[in-house]
Amino acid sequence: MPKLLVFAVCEKVLIDENKNISLIVLLQNVSASSPDKSEIPRNAITPKEWTVFAMWQPAAEDYGREFNQIIQILWPDGSEFKKHALTFHFERDKIHHTRMTVIGFPVGQAGKLTLNMWLEADSRPVGESHSYVIQVTHDLAG
């Protein structure tokens, strides 16, 4: 079973010519405010790009198998904002990383924006589901 090494959400992922990876600004707290201090619409999405990054280490039996990495993004009220599946194979003796760039950041609801991620093989979950939470607050006063 593949072992999850990194699961992080950040503004940007940089990869240099030697394939070194840098994660830029991990998203933890996001404070949103409208310019005129009016209430932010409950379904508001702001045009910001952000990235979901994961790194997996395969076990010997994982080579040659097809895996689907599922990423589900939930609004604070639990409704689904996005769900994305990515199919990949492990290369022998190599750690596999995935990047998903999301266009548009959901800011309409204050609370916990939750990202769930898990692997599937043969349409069945493999291992446990992993979560990353971003706290979204609305700053209507300042």
């Binding site: 998203l27 932010i40 619409p41 266009i103 548009g104």
Partner: protein
């Protein structure tokens, strides 16, 4: 084949945006509404009215702002300023590595 509405950027129009077809998302009647106003003006009006779905039940998880952003009109999404802050505790702990020579000096000194 699916077509994109040039007003609200809904991407699943069953017909091209012309010949008096009506977009189920923003309600624009092509050939009529866009004879009087530009697509940008119609988009502005739809957004000012709240960007609601026009006809029937919207697709599951439909979001007008995401549709506009992904359709190349991020300027039409609500103006929201974002500030990113950290939840990490006091300061990250720093682990210093010392060379064998420094260790030796430390023991002797």
């Amino acid at each position: 084949m699916r077509f994109r509405c040039p007003v609200c950027m809904y991407g699943s129009l069953p017909y091209p945006a012309r010949d008096y077809h009506i977009c189920p998302c923003c309600g624009t009647e092509f050939g009529n509404d866009d004879a009087e106003f530009s697509h940008a003006q119609l988009r502005e009006m739809w957004v000012a009215d709240g960007a609601f779905w026009f006809f029937g039940i919207p697709p599951r998880d439909w979001n007008p702002w995401l549709q506009l952003i992904e359709g190349g009109h991020p300027e039409s999404a609500p103006a929201v300023r974002l500030e990113l802050t950290s939840r990490v505790g006091p300061r990250p702990q720093r682990v210093s590595f010392v060379t064998p020579k420094q260790v030796l000096l430390s023991v002797n000194g």
